[in-house]
């Protein structure tokens, strides 16, 4: 599939009001922190505006026009998410606050069946959100958390994976794209091996749902977690996607309104899916605006988004690699939206602060991956993360900002 041409990206950028702004006085903003959160097109901002101006009502219970419209729009958003990700049944789409909450839900509810001696397999490149929830349930159940090591190029060590996968492995929970290294993991093959081993699989799609066409019926994982805000939608909304059979077999998550069928003082019965896992008034407005974000990126086309992001990030990786004083953290064969690096003799925080003065927003720190940092032997890194609206000219601006930073430090 063909990436967007520069003229097309120029047109796309007009849809994003924030990309027109300036920072630190008169500098054009270069936003390269998309792995943290993406920017929002006007249609998403307008969908939120429209919801609160025209439709706002609580869903599923009101007997009036607004409640019916809000319920219809909220449920249409659920169907849109299911369709976008290739899930067979919208009842298996649980709205959550985002990927983190989705993984916690699985760890706390599905994880209750774990027993002492059971193993949860993750990897060294996981985000803390795909580590800590498993540690919490492991402490409660006596299960152990194991991690797939990485190769020197920053990819999963697949031989080690096959050795680690054993009859005690009850859960494999993996990120599809590393937020820190940009590595795209061969999850389809790994899911097949895990399923053949009788292991349940969760895929952390926080970084992949924004960049890759996802078809869950083909991917074959049991759980998929993602966040709207990384795919041009609002913050505070995301989803857990699973088969209704699996979700029905799990105990509920939080108790409260919406998730019940009958309540007495002594006991309660649960509502049907997906409401069993959506206690309390849900995040209606953001779910509806997320649907609008999905419409937007689907109209652009996920295959073209994938090609565009790959082109711009591969170009950035090779130009950063050639830049004096810059070292890449990883050399994966397939790269998602992110490229991370170190500057010789300059702390990543100093780099990000100086680069920001030139108007370029990048990330510095452990990027929520402290075990990965330990593996890399550095407490922090710099990360430039791209989306389909980023351009090669913006990478040029990043490189110029890096040169200025090195000059200020006296290392250029």
């Amino acid at each position: 599939m063909k990436p967007f041409a520069p003229a097309e990206i120029c047109k796309i950028r007009e849809d994003f009001p924030i990309l027109q702004r300036k920072v630190h006085g008169d500098r054009d903003l270069v936003y390269l922190d998309n792995a943290a959160t993406s920017q929002k097109p006007l249609c998403v901002i307008e969908a939120l505006n429209h919801y609160y101006r025209q439709t706002n009502a609580n869903v599923h219970r009101g007997m009036h026009a607004l409640a019916e419209e809000a319920t219809a729009d909220y449920e249409a958003a659920r169907a849109k998410v299911a369709n976008f990700l290739g899930a067979t049944d919208p009842k298996g789409v649980i709205f959550t606050r985002g990927t983190t909450e989705s993984i916690n839900l699985v760890a706390q509810c599905w994880g209750q069946q774990l027993q002492a001696g059971d193993e949860i397999l993750i990897s060294v490149m996981e985000h803390h959100s795909n580590i800590v929830p498993w540690q919490l349930i492991a402490q409660r159940t006596g299960a152990t958390v194991k991690a797939i090591p990485l190769t020197s190029s920053g990819e999963l060590d697949l031989e080690a994976f096959e050795t680690l996968l054993n009859p005690k492995t009850k859960m494999l929970s993996l990120t599809q794209i590393s937020n820190a290294l940009g590595t795209v993991n061969p999850v389809k093959e790994m899911i097949a091996k895990a399923k053949a081993n009788g292991t349940t699989v969760l895929i952390d799609g926080a970084q992949s749902a924004p960049h890759l066409p996802i078809n869950l019926s083909e991917l074959g994982c049991d759980f998929y977690a993602c966040s709207a805000h990384k795919m041009c939608g609002p913050t505070g909304i995301g989803a857990l996607i699973a088969s209704p059979e699996l979700l029905n077999a799990m105990p509920p998550w939080q108790g409260g309104g919406e998730m019940i069928d009958q309540v007495t003082i002594e006991s309660s019965t649960w509502a049907d899916l997906p409401y069993k896992f959506e206690a309390g008034t849900p995040n209606i407005g953001d779910a509806i605006a997320w649907a609008s974000a999905i419409d937007y990126i689907q109209t652009l086309g996920m295959a073209r988004i994938e090609a565009t992001v790959q082109e711009v990030v591969n170009d950035a990786a090779s130009r950063l690699e050639q830049e004096p004083g810059v070292r890449l953290t990883a050399h994966p064969t397939e790269r998602g939206g992110a490229v991370s690096f170190w500057l010789d003799e300059i702390h990543p925080h100093d780099v990000a602060q100086l680069v920001d003065q030139s108007g370029v927003a990048i990330r510095a720190g452990h990027v929520c991956c402290q075990p990965l940092m330990k593996h890399l032997g550095h407490p922090a890194l710099n990360r430039a993360s791209y989306h389909f609206y980023n351009t090669q000219e913006e990478t040029t601006r990043l490189l110029e900002a890096i040169r200025i930073a090195r000059k200020i430090f006296g290392v250029a």
Binding site: H347, H349, D350, L354, A380
Partner: protein
């Protein structure tokens, strides 16, 4: 020990005057980085978990001890800009009486265009460092 001839307010006015000479942000940051490089290194014995300032993504260590009724501070960071900012803070706070530290308003950060470094942003930690110094002063 440093003998202060001036008040915290005067020390801040001096810094504002110094920074007014810079033509652009690059000169300003180059100066902060120089200050960071010139800061006395902290004794290794203090660079431990107990002296780490919480809430910084870059590592910052801080040690404070009363000397002749005044608070003597030693601090270091692995990030050089932060270390330069530490040097600025020490220019204001070093060897002052605890009461003077607690009364001071660090307005100079705004005046020299470094206000964003005092924000609540956890990646920076200057805010946490100043709070830690103030806590030492309050308990001295």
């Amino acid at each position: 020990m440093l003998r202060h001839m001036n008040s915290i307010a005067e020390a801040q006015a001096e810094l504002i005057d110094e920074f007014s000479m810079f033509e652009d942000w690059q000169e300003k940051y180059a100066y902060i980085i120089d200050l960071g490089r010139e800061l006395d290194p902290m004794p290794e014995e203090f660079k431990d978990e107990a002296h780490k300032v919480k809430g910084c993504q870059s590592q910052v260590w801080l040690h404070a001890e009363p000397r002749e009724g005044k608070l003597h501070l030693q601090a270091e960071s692995d990030a050089l800009i932060v270390q330069g900012l530490i040097a600025l803070v020490l220019r204001i706070y070093q060897d002052r009486e605890p009461a003077e530290i607690l009364d001071a308003d660090l307005g100079f950060f705004e005046d020299i265009g470094l206000m964003s470094h005092l924000s609540m942003n956890r990646t920076n930690g200057l805010h946490s460092m100043i709070n830690t110094i103030r806590a030492y002063a309050a308990s001295a």
